[in-house]
Symmetry: C2
Subunit: 192 residues, 2 copies
């Protein structure tokens, strides 16, 4: 059950058996059914969840009720609203399971304890956030500078497994285009 997450965490540092055991002991295992909203806008995010199995997205809802998907997360990813989690401030996003999931969860307190007891993990988490940031920077750039078609093709290249797992209108909301237009883009691509 912890194999996957342990491999993940030790990718960029090495931990002793005791450290790993401690780490695993504080993770809370939670199976969650699909279509469950784990975090509502306005809530304070009290989890940082490693996905052992399943698929999750987090998204915003704008003033007109339109959803903007910030991220899809699948096996071996973490999901959270870091800002809300860190500062205990109300979140402005939603987090929702798209499939039945198995999660390994850190609460703010256990994470603090963990960092205090295994300081090496501070670095691991920093690197994780950095990677996240780099990915998001690139995405903003692409969002601003390319057409719907290119964004979709780029998405397929980077996340080839996602389209088989989630409904297309979610992908549209990730790309920042309407579902109808995504459909048109797809038929055009298919025709060629």
């Amino acid at each position: 059950m912890f194999d996957q997450i342990n491999r993940h965490v030790t990718k960029c540092t090495n931990l002793s058996t005791e450290e790993l055991a401690y780490f695993n002991s504080i993770l809370q295992y939670r199976p969650i059914p699909k279509k469950t909203i784990l975090l509502h806008e306005g809530d304070i995010c009290n989890f940082e969840a490693y996905i052992n199995k399943g698929c999750i997205r987090n998204y915003y809802i704008d003033e007109n009720g339109f959803e903007v998907t910030l991220q899809f997360a699948i096996e071996d990813w973490w999901v959270s609203d870091i800002a809300s989690f860190q500062d205990h401030t109300p979140s402005s996003m939603f987090i929702e399971t798209l499939e039945d999931c198995e999660l390994l969860i850190l609460s703010p307190q256990t994470k603090e304890d963990l960092m205090a007891r295994v300081p090496k993990l501070e670095r691991v988490f920093r690197l994780m956030v950095q990677r996240n940031l780099a990915v998001l920077q690139r995405r903003l750039f692409k969002t601003i500078s390319t057409s719907a078609r290119e964004k979709y093709l780029d998405f397929l290249k980077r996340y080839p497994t996602i389209p088989q797992r989630v409904a297309q209108h979610y992908i549209a909301s990730y790309l920042g285009i309407s579902p109808e237009f995504l459909s048109k883009v797809r038929t055009k691509i298919a025709r060629k």
Copy 2:
């Protein structure tokens, strides 16, 4: 000369006088004239720079030669291409001074040393990156979900001092709209 950066760094942790002294001793002071390109696409970013004075932007150039400004940075901010800096991989962005600047610089090696010697700073830098990430998440959301007008008004609210310091076409490239259209948006706002 180090007052500002020391206040900045001790905002979320407290360091002993020796730790601070060590930190300051490894910072490299560099005055840089305006319009200097500090990092070219393809280069490996070998600095993480704290801005003591001045204004900097980093930006991408797309396949059609259009610039997309990722970020303006002024006093009390850090600039770098973290991904390139961390992994020693070629950067895909440019970093350019917009005014004469005074920088305090970390190289990858000195940063490693610093982290090893003052582990508390690991946390400080993680929090910095997290904050960055949260800001960028919000920006992506706004970029996707709002009109040029709203984005501009939002920009004015969040960064009220920037417009006085940088040319308008830079702001347009930050907002992801053409300079001409920004001009039109502005006149419309002014008329009301």
